[in-house]
Every structure is written in C-alpha cells, then in structure tokens.
Amino acid sequence: MDFSFSQEQDMLRDSVAKLLERGYDFDTRQALVASDAPWSADVWAQFAELGLTMLPFSEEQGGLGGSVADCVAFAGVFGEHLVVEPYVTSTLLAGGALAASGTPLALEWIEKLASGEATLAFAYEEGNGTATPEQIAMTATPAGDGVNLTGEKRLVIAGDAADGMVVVARSSDTGKLGFYLVQAGADGLTTRPYKTIDGRASATVVFDNVAAFVLLEDAGEALDAILAKAIIVASAECLGAMKALLRLTSEYAMTRKQFGQPIGMFQVVAHRLADMKIAYTKALSTLTYTTALANSGAATPRDIATLKGQMGKLGREIGEAAIQTHGGVGMTDELSVSHFHKRILAFDASLGAHAFHLRKVGQMA
C-alpha cells in the first residue's frame, strides 16, 4: 500500500497553489462571483497552460494520460480557494464522456477542451430523485443520424456559458442511457441561467426536441466510470474546503475572546474543534484510500458510494461547526467561512446526497 503523492504530483499541486495564491484571493473570487462573468477566462487559460485541461485525456486522444490521483493532488487547492471554474464538469465529466465515445466528433471536441479553448457542460441531474442514473427521464428519440432530446435538466453547471453540452438521456428505442452532444444555442433549447449558492454559473435547461449528435449509445458503464472519477476529484475539492474551515476556525477560536479568554479555551468549543478534526481525519483517510484504490483499478461502486457519502456528511458537520464557532460573523457574506460551507453543501447535494450514498452502501454491504 502506498498512499503518498509522487514528486510530480506534488509539483503540479504547488504550481496550482502558487497560481491561485497569486490571483485568486477571497476578495478577487468574490468580485468574480458578483460579476456577470461565469468564471475567469484568464484563470481558465492558466489552468490550460499548466496542462490541467489536457491532463486526464489519454495520450492517444491527445492528452497527458494523467491519473485520478494526479487530479486529486491539485483539486484540494481548488477547494481551498473556492474555485468556480468548471473543471470537474467540463474536463472530467463532459470530457470523460467524449473520451468514452471516441467518435471523430468527440475527438474534435477533446482537442478543444484539452487546449482550453472550449468548455462543455454536462447535463445530467434532473432533480432530487435522480441521484441514481436509473431515474434519468430525459428521452433521446432517433432522428436521422442523431437524436432529438426532450426533457429538463437541473443544475447544469456552465449550461448557459459553455460552448455546448454533453447530455445524458434515455433512448426511446432501447431504454438505455446514452451520451449526446448539443451545441450551445441549438433550436428548442431554453436555458435559465443562475448562480449557485457557491458561486458557480449554472442553469436549468429545458429541451424541446433538440437535435443532438450521438456520442455513445450504450453509456451505462462509461457513465458509472466517469461519475466515479468525478466524485473522487470533487471530493478532493470538498476536502480542501474542509481543511480551510478547520484552519480558519481553530485560528478564530484561539484569537476571539469572550468572558476574558479565547473561546477555544471553553471546553465545549474545544471539543467541537476536536470533532471537526475527527471528521477531517476520517474524510482525508477515505479520500486518500479510495484514490489509491481507484488508481489500482480496484475501487468498487461501494467504495465510491462510501466516499461520496462520507465526504458530504463529514463536510456538513465541519461547515456547521465552523459557523457555530464563528458566531455572528460566521453568518455574514463578508467572511469566507459561510462560502466554504456553501461549497460543501453544493458538493453534498450534487451527484446524490450523502443519505443516498450511505443507504446504497447499506444495500451493497
């Protein structure tokens, strides 16, 4: 068993950290979120320069053949900086679908994603009931070379801002789930953009007979695989947010005084901090182990469900404890604390909330 990052992975993380420390401090990030821009094109270009957008694609498909551990190595830093750029959805989820497809069209798009010149949304979730792919209702009806898509997708990150989207839909013919590509602005597409509570550009997208290209008609297995990878990397982002909260909260507790002493000297506050560290240690351990498993090709669906469930549950515990410990200032928009918590909340609700995954564990264990 080896749970350490390689030197290359450490170096990549340090590069990302330097980049974000320079240009992604909390105030800059807040200004970005408050602006009309969906994310920073500049930062995205720097990600591309560092090779992040190329990393996960195989060398045959024009990528760097990076592993999931490579992504985990730097994704924690994304979480610590509350990055709003759509790395997981565009590069890993949409990109993963393209890679699984491998059609000429897919390869064309991979090139655009890998170079950083384009982004894609991943239209997957349809509401609280669709934590599991079995509940996907969006239909794909064969039409000519492609399909027509009808249905509604919620929480489509970058849905209004990306150059197109990969849609997960159910074939009206076979009942199987497939990946389909839709260009931005296609006929029949109605997009209601919004920002998420954690500052990401998102949209509700309604499809009314929208023409789409076929990427992969029987995508069930591929979907599981790319979701698993996305969950691992998103978990690393979440862990970054948890780490930031643990640090900020212990610092605050040691400086903020009430009744003549730092509040961290009150045993109840001290024990809440201890519980935050317990939760963080569990989360760190499970993310690290699951990453190593996945790197060895041995992560089972139960391992992935365990990871997603634990990260969401433990993350929420840490976020709520952080706010309670900060008191009034923790309730404000000005301090970063609540924003880290909202990032965790968004992580938890996406791709199946913790209660869903932990119950799945109970079914599978």
Binding site: K195, T196, I197, Q258, V268, G330, M331, H341, L345
Partner: protein, 402 residues
Amino acid sequence: MNVEFSPELEAFRAEVAEFFATAPTPAIREAGRKTTSVFAPFDQCMEWHQILAKKGWSAPHWPVEYGGTGWSVEQRFIFAEEYRKADLPPLLPQSLGMVGPLLIDIGTEEQKAKYLPPILAGHDFWAQGYSEPGSGSDLASLQCRAEADGDDYIINGSKIWTTYAHHANRMFMLVRTDNSGKKQQGITFLLLDRVDYPGMEIRPIVGLDGMPEQCEVFFDNCRVPQSGRVGAENDGWSVAKHLLKHERGGSAASPTLVRYLEKAKEAAAVTPSPFGGMLADDPVFQSEFGELHADVASLSHMEKLAISGHEIATDPAFPSLNKTINSELVQRASVLMSKVSGVGGLARQLEALRVGSNVEPQGSEFDLITMPLYLNSRATSIYAGSNEVQRDLISRSLAAGA
C-alpha cells in the same frame, strides 16, 4: 388532567381561519410564503400587523387592559396554528414580545402611554441594540458608552446584529454608564425615540443567505434624552434580565415547526425518491420525518404546559430550555426541508425571493425557500444568547437543585 375540545373552540377556530382567509392582502400572503427567517419581510409584515391590530389581535399575550385578547391556552394555540396554516408572516418580536411587555411591567406611566399604543397598532418598530463587535455571548462586557450631560446622554460606540435597524423608527439598547464595578454593573437600559439622531449611523450587513437582515449601528457623540431610561441608571442588567421573563411561558413556536413539517411532507409527496416512488412514501423519509415530528410534538406539549401555568415554566432554566429546544428543531426542520429540495435548493435566487418581484423561481416555491431558510436558521443557535450560553444556564439550574 384534561384537554378541552368544545364546540365553542371549534367556532373560534372557524372565526380565526375565516379572518386569515380574507383579511391579508396578496402581498402579505406572498411575504408569508417567502419568509425564510424568524424575521419576515418588513413592509408586508408591518402592514399585516396593522390589519391584525384593527381586529384587536396583534398582541394576544398582552394583558387585556393594554390591548391583549384574554384568550385561553386553547385559543392561543388555535390562533397560532391557524396563523401558520395560512402561511402568514409572523409579527416581529422586538416590539410586541420584548420592549412592549417590559414597559407594561416596569415602564413609567408616561412611557406606557407614549410607546405601547403605537407598538400595538403596528406603527412603531423597535430595534434591539444589545450585542457589540466585542461582546457577543459575553453580553455584559459591552462597551458602548453613555455619558450624562444635562438632561441627555452622549453615546459613543457601536452595536451589531441589530436586526432590521435599517427599518426601525425606534430602538432600545444597553449602554455602559459606569466602568468602575463588576461588568454587570454600570449598564443602563435606554429607549431611543428615533434612530436618526445626529451622530447615529446604521449600516446593514449582508448575511450568508444574501439578505441584509442584520445591521451595525454606530454612535458618534450621539445626544439622546435621559428620559428614555428604563429603570435606574446602572441598573440596566437587571432590566435586561427581567425582559427574559417574557420568554417564559409565552411562546407558541411549535405551530411554525409543524408548518415546516407539513411543507416538507407536501413537497416530498411530489418529489421522486431515488429509490423509486415518491419521497413521502419512502420508509427512510418517513422515519426521519416521524422522529422530528415527535420531537416537535414534545416542544408543543411543553409550550402548552407552560402557557397553562404548569410548574415547568417556573424553573429558572425554562427560557433556556425553550430557546435551545426550539432553535435546534428549527435547524433540523430546515435540514429536512433542504434534503427534500436536493439540487433544487442550490440556485441563489434573491430576486425571486423579493416580495413583489414577480420573478418566477427556478423549480418550485418550496425549493425557493429551503436553502435560505437552512442558511438563515444557522443563526438560531447563535443569537439571543448562544446555545452554549443557554446550556451553561441550564446546567447551573441543576447545580442549584432545580
């Protein structure tokens, strides 16, 4: 031992329900549906307060001679239940529940005559100036200073977490008038006739839910009349503690919680479960729902016992027990609600939340409120004496043998 269920009570219930079905304006109803805090949207809330006042129902818990209704425990609960069923905005507590009852108890006749009628009528809204940036849970350490000067005090310092101060026309506050003794001594309780005295400045603070609910209030050589003092100079701490008494045996918070649960169940009935069927029929949902429902029932039972004069309400720890239980149930209810919303709760929709904006929400009206309610309710265990302080007080009552 008995619980009354008489035809008279059912007639009363019908009267209340009828009034709630007809009296509120559409904007008031919208404000009620869009209430995601213990503090409802201000304008519609006050408009509704005035309508209730005309009916004589704005302060059921006040003594009859000051405008209360003289209702029985059963009637008060029926009123509260119908109120929540109709999704109407709760009236703001600062004037009706805090400064009003305090003045009734220990205000001068002049103060009562001047301040109580406009509170009852809903013409005045009082902000509460207690906390300071350096004095949160440790309230008695407050430093905002008032120096006597002729018939006036000159105030310097600041207050924070002053809810809706930017909407208020009056304010009650604690100031430090003496630094020489123990920190609880030397505090004075003041009524401010206006919030636009020269040298007074109010700045809203945006909360984590995106709403400007709290404020900071700055005082720079602000001159206010001494006639606004309640109780003696330097005796403000005991006045503030007296105010606490009004949380004792007076609250009927459980109907709000019951309404949250009803909304969660209604939404769950039309939300698919990822395990098939609708969420409301999912055993795990039912199990969590039942656990919370039973705990809310226990609070409701406790409130009914207290209002009826049961001895639990005379326990010195009762206000702390009540506050702790209620605040944590609000948080749990908001968690359950946001679970039902799931990804539907992730859109930040400040415009759609604004009363009168006519902006269609992303998803359902339920999804619109669950996340703001969850976020806002993180404060319930922090404000009005953090739950850490409340548990300290509860444990002290045990040490004292209560």
